[in-house]
């Protein structure tokens, strides 16, 4: 197992290096620049600005010094927000986005697994069609539609919940979490339904029932463990996706999270910010993929055996 983890960690290094390199050169190829504005500035000012951010150096040298800085954990100053550093901005937004993502994932898992399991117990009946239709709607409904709809109903008509904010008014975390979680809940519902269907038809399930075990034990203990495997391997990348993909929800609900920096940085041509957030998120994605692989191995004895066998073979 440790061997597997070490191997995967080593594999991540070239991936991240590739992400840095591609991003670095791609953002430089985009027209415009961090200092272009509607109002013209003099050549002297332009030169002073470029010098301050080392943009006057040859591109390759900039690339190498960026690699050097990032190896020391220095993401550099932002172009758009003079006086603030990229890592400072990331670590300010991260806890908020992570909290939002966590709630969303919690909602998504609870509702998704429940719906999926309920639907799988009686496939192709009303008990299956109704929840699965909702799941389909959930997948199709974009958050920029669902968010304002929820706000309209619960915030403005019923006045139960604040329409925006994060942690500044009571109950303001509920609507954004639901909005962000809805789409993932729908995915999880479909995943757990198909996973459960596959497992429920297995021989060991029949054995469990034949032993005379009560139905809920059969489903919760024997069924879920195998049936939720696809969900588990989905959760890791999903959480990383929630961290980078919460831009829309953060904008609708005025949440000071990471997603907004990520997208705004691209519009602003904030080179260091684009790079910093991309690198940071790619590390997270690699990390969560690794985590979900480990959990999947723990849940599935066959996979675990495979990893160990691989490890032995390479000796």
């Amino acid at each position: 197992m440790w061997r597997f983890i070490a191997l995967r960690t080593l594999q991540a290094i070239p991936v991240i290096l590739a992400v840095i390199t591609i991003t670095f050169f791609l953002v430089r190829m985009a027209p415009g620049g961090p200092f272009s504005s509607e109002k013209a500035v003099s050549e002297q000012v332009q030169a002073a600005l470029e010098a301050r951010y080392r943009l006057d150096q040859p591109l390759l040298q900039q690339y190498l010094s960026y690699l050097g800085d990032i190896a020391q954990g220095d993401f550099g100053p932002t172009f758009r927000y003079p006086g603030r550093n990229v890592e400072e901005m990331i670590f300010q937004g991260l806890p908020i986005t992570a909290e939002l993502g966590l709630y969303a994932l919690l909602i998504a898992t609870v509702f998704g697994v429940l719906t999926g399991v309920i639907a799988s117990l009686r496939p192709n009946t009303v008990q299956d069609y109704v929840p699965m239709s909702f799941a389909m709607i959930g997948i199709c409904m974009p958050s920029f539609l669902l968010g304002p709809l929820l706000v309209l109903v619960f915030g403005i008509w019923l006045q139960w919940l604040p329409v925006s904010g994060w942690g500044s008014l009571p109950g303001d975390k509920i609507l954004p979490s639901i909005t962000l979680g809805a789409m993932y809940a729908a995915y999880i519902a479909r995943l757990s339904r198909s996973g459960m269907l596959e497992v429920l038809s297995q021989d060991y399930m029949r054995t469990a029932r034949a032993k005379g075990l009560p139905a809920h034990i059969v489903i919760l203990k024997h069924g879920l463990r195998g049936g939720l495997l696809p969900v588990v391997s989905f959760l890791g990348p999903a959480f990383a996706g929630l961290l980078s993909g919460s831009f829309v929800v953060e904008t609708i609900f005025q949440i000071p999270g990471l997603g907004r920096f990520y997208v705004q940085a691209a519009f602003n041509r904030d080179y260091t910010m684009i790079l910093g957030t991309t690198v940071f998120l790619s590390v997270l994605i690699v990390l969560f993929n690794l985590l979900s692989d480990i959990v999947a191995a723990w849940l599935n004895p066959r996979l675990r055996h495979q990893y160990n066998a691989n490890g032995n073979n390479s000796k």
Partner: protein, 554 residues
């Protein structure tokens, strides 16, 4: 077996019920006092402020939303009257202007203080202006000082000695400024944030004064001389400023605090206003304006704004290099119809680059909607009924409203002139790049005034000016803008020169004026002392909150 499944189902519903129940309990706390009501009670203003401020260093920032916060934290030599926009004494209690209108002597009030209690001196201004002009800092607004003797040379690094620049601190409370030309709008510039003083000891304690990445202007570090001090700054969340007891005119300051919310989505901002979270919004979504005007006219304010929306024409590209073609394009647009239908009747039709009533200046109306004349001109240029007119395009930055306008104009040109124009939209930075390299035929533009003077709009079109982008060049025009108007001794003489310049500009028609902007805000009735003006300028110390007790009783 059947029974067991039902128990399982019961469990599921119990769980579901529990989640919904806990959700509802969490909501029950929301129906108490709104943030606005609490603000009215505590004297705290909650205001929408567009975007996360880039920085709060007055010599580094360029945005309008930053300037609103800087106006609370700092104060220049003068301040605009929020009603008339004429300058009034601020840090300078009084000033004298020499007979040749080139030398200004400012007498600073001796009770002006920094927020840490230090005295605001003439040397503070001299040092701050040296910093603002220092080439290494790269202030994008350094041209605000260029009417001062040698300021431009110093900013461009042609001289390193600031003593050669026409700024002298004669004693602790006397500042003398010498100008190249009389520059009648010079005082107007002195309440722009780029001319604000900064606290030398504070700036120096955070590294090189000319480093734009310095951290001196952050919450906890910043020392200002304005009516408010910075107490909290949470990125993308809010900025809170509180009444400064050290401010010389603290007796006038009525609010205890202002909270600025950076909200970049207008729809979100409008919802927050409706939810009672904001006293005042930065803007209003265009499609909501008619609704508010009809249903809640007390909550909305639509007022003229110092900005124009126009199209620039690339005069270097055939067939647009023919003035008859450009005239035909300009004359065939029905601005009244455009404003009424596309912008929901909110903006005013525009017939000049300078907005009307800019500090008493009225731009001449040099053309009108005249489709017959437009067709005649186009035929004269060799394209009767648009036959054989080459393909060309309108470029705009990707935004729904620009698209709507471009579609309307495309339609008008097709209908009146029989020519087809293609619409091209580009992402903001790409669009700026196309504009700067003149890689376009017709491009959407807008211009918002930095100070209230026609010069701020007309100097866009001087030959090879950084903001010209049209190829327009006229020797007499350059002479008026660069020499004759700044040297004019009174307002009437100068405005007459600007009228002449507008005649020259519109004879060549490098631009298609479309409409004049209006500022749009949602505003709670309790908010007072914030009169509308064309600069959208707020004098924070005069703003106050008056809870609407009567309205509720009725």
């Amino acid at each position: 077996m059947r029974l067991k499944i039902t128990t399982y189902k019961c469990l599921v519903f119990l769980l579901l019920g529990g989640i919904i129940g806990s959700l509802l309990t969490a909501c029950s706390g929301g129906s108490s006092e709104t943030r606005v009501e609490e603000g009215d009670r505590l004297g705290v203003l909650h205001i929408g402020n567009a975007a996360e401020p880039a920085a709060l260093d007055p010599h580094v920032t360029t945005g309008v939303s930053e300037s609103h916060i800087l106006q609370a934290l700092f104060e220049g030599l003068v301040i605009k009257n929020p009603q008339t926009l004429e300058v009034e004494p601020a840090v300078a209690a009084s000033w004298e202007v020499s007979d040749d209108a080139r030398t200004y002597t400012f007498h600073l009030r001796d009770n002006a203080r920094w927020s840490n209690g230090d005295v605001v001196t003439a040397e503070d201004f001299r040092w701050s202006w040296e910093r603002a002009l220092s080439p290494a800092l790269g202030s994008q607004y350094n041209y605000m000082f260029f009417s001062i003797v040698n300021a431009q040379a110093f900013a461009n690094g042609e001289t390193a000695d600031f003593n050669e620049v026409g700024v002298k601190a004669l004693d602790t409370h006397t500042l003398q400024v010498t100008l190249r030309e009389p520059t009648p709008y010079f005082l107007q510039l002195l309440d722009h944030h780029s001319t604000f003083p900064v606290h030398r000891a504070t700036v120096e304690s955070f590294g090189s004064p000319s480093d734009r990445l310095s951290q001196w202007a952050r919450a906890g570090n910043l020392v200002g001389n304005g009516a408010f001090t910075l107490t909290e700054w949470q990125t993308n969340s809010h900025i809170r400023v509180e009444k400064s007891p050290a401010y010389w005119d603290a007796a006038t300051t009525k609010l205890n605090a202002i909270v600025f919310y950076p909200i970049d989505n207008q729809t979100t901002e409008e919802r927050m206003f409706r939810d009672g979270q904001l006293h005042h919004t930065y803007d209003v979504p265009l499609d909501k304006v008619p609704v508010y005007l009809a249903e809640e006219p007390d909550l909305i304010e639509v007022e003229p704004y110092l900005g124009t929306y126009f199209y620039s024409i690339n005069m270097t590209k055939p067939p647009l290099d023919d003035v008859r073609v450009r005239r035909a394009l300009v004359l065939s647009i029905d601005r009244a119809l455009l404003v009424e239908t596309v912008t929901q009747g909110i903006y005013q039709p525009g017939y000049s680059v300078v907005p009307p009533d800019t500090m008493g200046y009225q731009p001449p109306k040099l053309f009108d909607y005249d489709p017959d004349e437009a067709r005649r001109l186009l035929a004269e240029a060799g394209y009767p009924d648009g036959q054989g007119f080459p393909a060309f395009s309108i470029l705009y930055n990707t935004l729904e409203q620009h698209q709507k306008i471009a579609v309307a104009i495309q339609q008008m040109w097709r209908q009146e002139l029989g020519i087809n124009v293609e619409l091209v939209n580009q992402e903001w930075q790409v669009y700026l790049d196309s504009q700067n390299t003149m890689n376009y035929d017709v491009v959407r533009r807008g211009w918002i005034g930095d100070y209230v003077d026609p010069n701020n709009f007309l100097d866009l079109f001087i030959t090879d000016g950084g903001n010209n982008h049209t190829g327009f060049s006229n020797a007499r025009y350059d002479e008026i803008i660069l020499n004759a108007a700044p040297a004019a001794l009174n307002r009437d003489e100068r405005y007459a020169l600007y009228q002449e310049a507008e005649n020259l500009l519109m004879a060549d028609m490098p631009v298609i004026p479309l409409y004049v902007y209006q500022s749009k805000h949602l505003k709670r009735p309790s908010l007072k002392g914030m009169p509308a003006n064309i600069m959208d300028f707020y004098s924070w110390k005069h703003v106050y909150l008056e809870p609407q007790v009567d309205a509720e009783a009725q």
